[in-house]
């Protein structure tokens, strides 16, 4: 210890709160802090060529895919699928939904000899885990029955196979046995994927609010999508969520500001979304939904400067197109705030527009909205939901991502659909009811 009055010794170390810091240690601390704050997500892509694996097989008729739908007991493979899994015909193949880490398996199918072959990838939507999935239903385990046009019955259909990690290694056995049909309820239920696909976009080679992601939405269990609409400086509605062009959604381009600062030509010249896509126009998104999916519900969330009248014109045009293609497609204009409500009420024939209102029930009535969409934190609100139903309106809840609350809304509530970042989780809990 230094005695009082002793001369101070010049030090090359710095002190803070009694702790002596050598410059090298200080630098190390700063580097550690820097490294700890930089999260780099590595997205593995499963090593499987689905088309090659199904080469030589015959296509499975859609009716057979629908006949395979059901709730299956998981005998082997509970580490991936839990104790029960939902098998659902989606797109051109099958999806399997599980409550374990919001897991989803996306499968393509074929017929080889008398067996049904299913090949694809699994993904846990709460993280980056993914891998390969190979299975089959042999002739004796139910394929003969299904291919002959029969329906699945409890214990009569068994799926056998294996699953592994993204490199196709560490394969583990898999056995699923059909137990019961999917729950469909007294009326259709909407599973709506947030931002065209939900949080899945963080871990997939497709950015949120893109045509690429909307094509996957059905595979995640959605039968509807919510997309965010803004308008460019030259008045073109485009699909983009955030108020600014930022690094959460776009690759670094040097354009600062918001969508409305630039023309569509300028945005297309400079901006690419996280996974390299262009920011899509609303027309392109609606065209993709109409022609390349079987989604039946689109929620246009009107953001920032987009005029409701512009959405009304596009809604009318694409509802007409859907009718022309004999598609069951409902497109609704979302009203998130009083400004958008005022814009709607200024449209001469606003009563004809199909509208979803996120505000109180009196505003729902005033705007002649067909759908009331309260935030999930307001609770199940069964009395108000019953009142809305009595007036012929639907009720949707947003944005529910927590498994416990999803179950609570399905069990105790009476909503007609749920908007979620994890549509596979909503689909699972809905179909196993």
């Amino acid at each position: 210890m230094m005695s009082p009055g002793a001369p101070r010794v010049p030090s090359t170390r710095w002190g803070i709160g009694g702790v002596r810091w050598h410059p090298g240690r200080l630098l190390l601390l700063v580097l550690l802090l820097q490294l700890s704050c930089n999260e780099e997500v590595v997205l593995p892509v499963p090593a499987i060529d689905v088309a090659a694996e199904l080469a030589g097989t015959r296509a499975l008729p859609p009716a057979v895919l629908t006949a395979m739908e059901g709730v299956y007991e998981v005998i082997d493979g509970q580490a991936l699928l839990g104790r029960e899994a939902v098998v659902k015909h989606t797109g051109s193949g099958l999806s399997i939904f599980t409550d374990r880490d919001a897991g989803v398996v996306m499968l393509e199918c074929g017929i080889a000899d008398s067996a049904i072959i299913v090949v694809g990838t699994w993904r846990k939507l709460t993280g980056t885990e993914t891998g390969v999935f190979r299975a089959s239903i042999s002739e004796l385990h139910g394929a003969a029955r299904l291919l002959a046009g029969g329906t699945a019955e409890a214990g009569a259909v068994t799926v056998l196979g294996d699953f592994g990690n993204a490199t196709g290694k560490g394969m583990r056995p898999l056995q699923l046995v059909y137990r019961r049909p999917l729950y469909h309820g007294p009326r259709p239920f909407l599973v709506i994927a947030h931002r065209a696909g939900g949080r899945n976009s963080d871990h997939l080679p497709a950015s949120e609010n893109t045509a690429e992601l909307v094509r996957m939405a059905e595979r995640f269990g959605a039968n509807g999508v919510e997309i965010d609409v803004q308008v460019t400086r030259d008045g073109v509605p485009v699909v983009y969520h955030d108020e600014t062009l930022n690094l959460r959604l776009t690759q670094k381009s040097g354009l600062v500001g918001s969508i409305s600062d630039y023309t569509l030509a300028q945005i297309e010249s400079f901006v690419r979304l996280k996974n390299g896509e262009r920011i899509p126009t609303l027309r392109r998104m609606l065209g993709t939904i109409l022609r390349q999916t079987t989604l039946r519900f689109v929620w246009l969330d009107s953001k920032y400067t987009v005029p409701v009248a512009l959405l009304r014109d596009l809604q009318r045009a694409y509802v007409d197109s859907a009718r022309h293609f004999n598609r069951d497609l409902t497109i609704v204009i979302g009203l998130p705030d009083a400004e958008k409500v005022d814009q709607l009420l200024r449209i001469p024939d606003y009563e004809d527009a199909t509208v979803l209102c996120e505000l109180d029930v009196e505003t729902v009535r005033r705007t002649h909205a067909e759908i009331w969409a309260p935030r999930w934190t307001m609770g199940t609100q069964n009395a108000l939901v019953a009142a809305m139903h009595a007036e012929g309106r639907l009720v949707l809840s947003w944005t529910l991502d927590n498994a416990e609350y999803i179950q609570q809304f399905l069990r105790d509530g009476d909503v007609d659909g749920i908007l979620s970042n994890y549509p596979s989780l909503v689909a699972y809990y809905h179909f196993v009811q």
């Binding site: 810091w21 040097g254 500001g257 630039y262 023309t263 300028q266 297309e268 010249s269």
Partner: protein, 207 residues
């Protein structure tokens, strides 16, 4: 990232303050105000080169080198810690794109990203004529983009910081010249440049 940068600025300031206390009894540094005054408002002017140092999208072949200019108005008192404001102009980066495909056809395009810093700066001489500077505030970041023959300019404010080390010597009365190595970080937009500037400083006002 933002947390670590803020911490870095805080550590530099704290270290400088501690060092300043340790050397409080040492002779007055050359850059202190003249003994017959108690305070001086010192203007520093600088200019030099900048290099954009943050990672960038690999699809764009950006030009990272550019020019930068600064001015700093700093209050010097008998205390070692000085406070002031800094502004100026710096290029972040620029790039050209040839034959970009869009739904409107093909075009050549170009973009320049530059910034005007608006920073509160704290400075302290540490070793002789060596001074550390740390600042907080932000940058008016400007995109100057051209495509299809049309140019657009958009400016947005980004929060940010700066850290610098300067060295200078007296050349004429109270005028000093030297060099400054500096980091400008517009953290909100994840942009940052390192600058090497020649600088000149002189008291604008003394009392």
């Amino acid at each position: 990232m933002r947390v670590s940068i803020s911490l870095l600025v805080a550590l530099i300031l704290a270290a400088a303050a501690v060092h300043g206390q340790e050397h409080a009894t040492e002779p007055r540094p050359a850059s202190a105000p003249p003994r017959d005054t108690t305070a001086a408002l010192v203007l520093s002017l600088g200019g030099g080169a900048s290099r954009y140092v943050m990672p960038h999208d690999a699809r764009l072949d950006i030009d990272r080198e550019g020019a930068a200019y600064m001015f700093r108005l700093c209050l010097h008192t008998s205390r070692r810690l000085r406070a002031g404001v800094e502004s100026g102009w710096t290029l972040f980066y620029s790039y050209e794109l040839n034959d970009v495909e869009t739904s409107f056809g093909h075009t050549d395009a170009g973009l320049t990203l530059s910034a005007i810093p608006v920073l509160a700066v704290f400075s302290m001489p540490v070793f002789g004529s060596l001074t550390v500077h740390a600042g907080t505030g932000g940058y008016f970041v400007r995109s100057h983009a051209t495509s299809f023959g049309e140019t657009v300019d958009v400016v947005r404010f980004a929060q940010g910081w700066m850290a610098a080390l300067s060295w200078d010597v007296g050349v004429f009365r109270q005028t000093r010249v030297g060099a400054e190595l500096k980091w400008y970080g517009a953290t909100e937009f994840d942009d940052g440049v390192v600058l090497l500037q020649l600088r000149m400083s002189f008291p604008l006002l003394t009392w």
